[in-house]
Amino acid sequence: MNDPNTARAQADPIITVTNLIKQFGRFAALRGVTASFEAGRLYGVLGENGAGKTTLLRVLAGLVRPTRGTVAILGKGDPREACREFGYMAHPSLLYDEMSGMENVRYFARLYGIQNDARCAQSITAVGLDPELGRPVGQYSQGMRQRMSLARALLHDPKILLLDEPFSNVDIRSAREMVKLLAHMRDQGKTVFVVTHQASLLDGAADQFVWMQAGEIINRTPDRKYMETA
């Protein structure tokens, strides 16, 4: 399977999902998703509210157990075993409001076994924020909070990035910068999933758009225009 020298091996599926079903009582969030995703790609996951985008991401992150179906990340059956390999960012900030950005990132670094602050400062500057900023995260603007949350997700240099609405409430200029950063990471070989409603931001950056509707992947297209005209 992982024959190193062929091109095919380079694009080995890093994540495979088979017949993934998730139901919350009678509401079917995921109705049988089967897909595999290659490493080193930036995927834009698009779809209306309730299409199952967030649930899919939470299943991949191991935060939600699927009702049926299997998830394999880097060959490991249970996402929890691969938790060191992915960074997760959600709609809520996942940060402590009373602590400054640096304090937050330093605490989460400790959870990943990272002791030195240089790495923390580096991931904060990478998202375009100032590590020395003393203000507690609670007083940040929503856009800054989203970027600090991204810094927390990038902290341990994960192979996979699972980002849920990273650009919401972020001004256009900083959103474009974030996209540039994500594209740069993709070029370094990381696999990036971006769930978003501002699909236009990913034009030219995303390798593939994954269209979801009513808990299923209905289409995977190289660019956004194809879906709109169809």
Binding site: I21, Q23, F24, G25, R26, F27, A28, R31, G32, E48, N49, G50, A51, R65, Q213, A214, E216
Partner: protein, 287 residues
């Protein structure tokens, strides 16, 4: 199997009425307390049945927690066997046993626990152990309520007080509180994994039982209280009637558990079909 239920029902009804007759008429009249002592034949069997049901709940909950983790499963097997051995040896080594616990009865309980554990292990799937835990908890609480109602009704005429901090009665009260909180957790839980939370609480509750018993037992030695059911040995004829009543109540409890079990199974099947239907429904997304 379906038609066995009414036959068993009739048999149990007959057994219950025979036991009632034995308790009211045949059993010898107790000198000091008089006829009111006959509450004993309902009070004690209900308590024993409740404890048995809670023991099954504990064993089923442990099964539910360990089955998905094979390594924990092996450890649990050894702990149960060790527990059984310990109680059997302890029955003869520990002197004095708390009042009117005979070594033979302690050994039988120890062996029964181990037997039940491996029986559940063999015949119940993971999902079924959860249903079994819920059923035995619910029916156990009903029997426990009976004990807590008949207890004071017995204490009142004999000692003029409604409640006595008797070791067994108080332990039953605490057990009742624990399992009512267990049932409330199951009803109020909004989690997808309610059985896991309930199983954890059941294990905690069971760990608590010996501590409850010994804390109240020592509490009682410091504040002597009248004891329900007397301390000394028991007239063989009374014991005979007691065992008949216990058998009758066990059959009754078995039937109630069986129907509650089937009810829960049906409930889950209905929920599953409804969920399946929602799955296959035409693609309607939230606009």
């Amino acid at each position: 199997m379906k038609k066995a239920f009414p036959i068993l029902g009739l048999l149990t009804a007959a057994l219950l009425s025979f036991a009632l007759y034995e308790a009211l008429v045949v059993a010898p009249r107790e000198q000091t307390m008089g006829d009111v002592q006959r509450i004993f034949y309902y009070h004690v069997p209900s308590a024993w049945t409740a404890f048995l049901l809670f023991a099954i709940n504990f064993l089923a909950s442990v099964q539910y927690l360990v089955r998905p983790r094979p390594q924990a499963d092996k450890i649990a097997n050894w702990i149960v066997i060790a527990l059984g051995a310990l109680t059997s040896i302890g029955a003869y080594v520990v002197r004095p046993l708390p009042q009117n616990m005979y070594p033979s009865s302690v050994v039988t309980t120890g062996v029964a626990i181990v037997g039940l554990y491996f029986l559940i292990k063999k015949y119940f799937s993971e999902q079924e152990t959860d249903i079994l835990a819920l059923t035995t908890a619910e029916v156990g609480v009903v029997f426990c309520t009976v004990v807590l109602v008949t207890g004071p009704l017995w204490a009142r005429p004999v000692w003029g007080i409604w409640w006595t901090w008797d070791v067994r009665l108080t332990s039953t009260l605490v057990l009742w509180l624990i399992y009512v909180s267990y049932l409330m957790l199951r009803r109020f839980s909004t989690s997808g994994q309610t059985p896991v939370l309930a199983a954890a609480l059941a294990v905690f509750g069971a760990l608590d039982v010996p501590l409850v018993y010994f804390s109240i037992w020592f509490f009682r030695t410091q504040h002597p209280q009248p004891v329900i059911g007397g301390g000394g040995s028991i007239d063989p004829r009374m014991l005979h009637v007691l065992l008949i009543n216990w058998l009758a109540f066990l059959c009754f409890a078995f039937l109630v558990c069986w129907s509650r079990y089937r009810l829960e199974q049906l409930q889950r099947e209905v929920e599953e079909t409804q969920a399946l239907e929602a799955l296959l429904e035409p693609r309607s997304t939230v606009r």
